[in-house]
Structures are given as structure tokens and as C-alpha cells.
Symmetry: C2
Subunit: 166 residues, 2 copies
């Protein structure tokens, strides 16, 4: 049984976003989870979820139609952010000089739902996330993505907290 587990392809999904916490989680993954990993079949999947495009009424408060270029600007910003996050994640991976195979996936929608759905669809062996140390109010109103994922993903979830001294 152990032998099968050792040889089986391992899929590690790291949920990345524009936060320092998620980049720290990615570093931890490469330094601690993969550094000692002798399994040549491991794949690191960087997963970024674009926020949902807001559904505007076609009339703004002044009664004018929303110009198409406003929507295009929002979409461009969203794409730019995704590219920027993936470039940072790439830089972190290069920094560790790891031989691990890296794949990238970009989804869009409510992060917690899309992450859980993607992890199940990818049949990931483990999901790694940074812990956002929001204050009481933000947590109480927005809820925590990692709390939600801990309850809803089927695979083990690693919540990585960024040390305050770092």
C-alpha cells in the first residue's frame, strides 16, 4: 500500500492571490513540502481565482448607459492582476530552483466555491492556502475562505500562517 502511495502522482494545489500570505504559503510548500520530496510525479498547481465581474445595471446613477470601455477596463484590470499574481508565483518557484512540475489554472467567481470545485475536479491530493489574519469584523462579515475550504474540500488542507516577524 505504501509503495502505491509513493509512486502515485501527487497533485498539490496552492491557491494564490495578490496577498503576501499566499506567496508565503507557496514558499512554504516549496521549502517544506517539496524540498524533501523524492516523488518525480509530483505536480504543483498554482490556482488563481479572479473575482467575479460585477453585474452592473446598464444605466448608472446619472441615467447614462455604461460605456463599453468601462467594462473592458474592469476586465483588463482583472486579467492584469491575474498575470501579475502568476508572475510573482513564478518568481517564487524559480527562487527555490525546484525540479517540481508547475501548472497554472485561472478560474473566476467566488473564490471559496471555485477553489473547492477546482480541487475536487483536479483530484488534488492536498490544498495549500495562506491564512489571512483579518480582524474580527472582516472575518465575521466576510467569513474565511480557509474555514470554508476546511469544511468543503475532500483532500487535506494546509493553512499556512505568515510569521509576524517575516
Amino acid at each position: 500500500m505504501e509503495e502505491n502511495i509513493k509512486m502515485k502522482e501527487k497533485k498539490v494545489v496552492v491557491a494564490v492571490d495578490e496577498s503576501e500570505e499566499s506567496m508565503y504559503a507557496l514558499s512554504w510548500c516549496l521549502s517544506d513540502l517539496f524540498a524533501q520530496n523524492s516523488n518525480p510525479n509530483s505536480t504543483l498547481i498554482l490556482l488563481y481565482i479572479k473575482p467575479p465581474v460585477p453585474v452592473y445595471s446598464s444605466l448608472d446613477v446619472t441615467g447614462y448607459l455604461f460605456a463599453g470601455d468601462v467594462i473592458q477596463t474592469i476586465e483588463k484590470y482583472s486579467r492584469d492582476l491575474a498575470n501579475s499574481v502568476m508572475r510573482r508565483a513564478d518568481a517564487v518557484c524559480r527562487n527555490f530552483n525546484s525540479a517540481v512540475k508547475v501548472e497554472k489554472k485561472v478560474g473566476s467567481g467566488d473564490a471559496k466555491d471555485v477553489i473547492c470545485a477546482a480541487v475536487d475536479k483536479l483530484e488534488a491530493d492536498i490544498l495549500v492556502m495562506g491564512s489571512h489574519d483579518y480582524g474580527f469584523f472582516k472575518r465575521a462579515f466576510l467569513g474565511s475562505v480557509s474555514d470554508y475550504c476546511a469544511k468543503h474540500v475532500k483532500c487535506p488542507l494546509v493553512v499556512v500562517k505568515r510569521p509576524k516577524t517575516a
Copy 2:
């Protein structure tokens, strides 16, 4: 930097209790976290927290003094449970035939507080827990130990969910 991390002693704490979920988390730890682990300095620490001994009034409802043997019985039950959990955990470790060094620690008190304090004191590199899939009410009233630990421990936390088909 990577080299230092590779050579450094790794302390993995697994919080065990009488649940199937915690034994599954321990198995996952041995099969997935340690199977590919070539670090000879890794230590697996089995951490069991005995529930706090209830503080009774020395007079029970009938006005009689609590007999010493009642308290002794409660304490004996608590010790027996701790021993039984550790024996099961031992059996799981033997089953994996892992060369990893295993230590045992038993604490007592409110599990979530004692786990967080122990993990910090031991300077653990990672904490592994089973996910108890309590229903909405139990979770709402009792809260979740893993939610609490995710917010309060300094090291990365792995929450391992037992597959429903297992």
C-alpha cells in the same frame, strides 16, 4: 537557505483523540507527509489532550460529600482513555513501518487552547489534525477545534478530512 531547511530537524505534531478522524489524519501523515521524507531528523509527536477534570462542588445534590473514589474513578477513566488512544496511534505507526522517530505527549485542559500552547512550546513545524464533520448545531455551539487552531497556531496546520467512502 533550502539546504538549511532540508537539514533542520522537523517536528510534526499530530493531535490525536479517540475519533476515527484523528487516526485517519495520523495515517495520512505517515503515508503522505513522511513516506517521501528523506530527512532523518524528523520527529512525529503524538499529542493527546485529556479533557479537563470537572470541578465539582464537594457537596453533591443530596448534600453528601463527594466520595474520593468517584473522583479517582473519573481520573482513572481519563488515564485509560489516554492510554487507549496512544495504543491505537502506536498501532497505526507500526502499520506503516515508518522509520520516523515517534514521541508522545499528553496534556490536559481545553483541547484547542492546550494544542495551540503545546505546538508553540514544542516549536513544531507543522500541526496535523483530523476534521470532525460535526453537523451545523454542534459546530455552531461548540465551535471547531481546527478553526480555532488555524487562527491561533503559528505553524502551518493541516486539516485532514476522512473520505466518506473509507
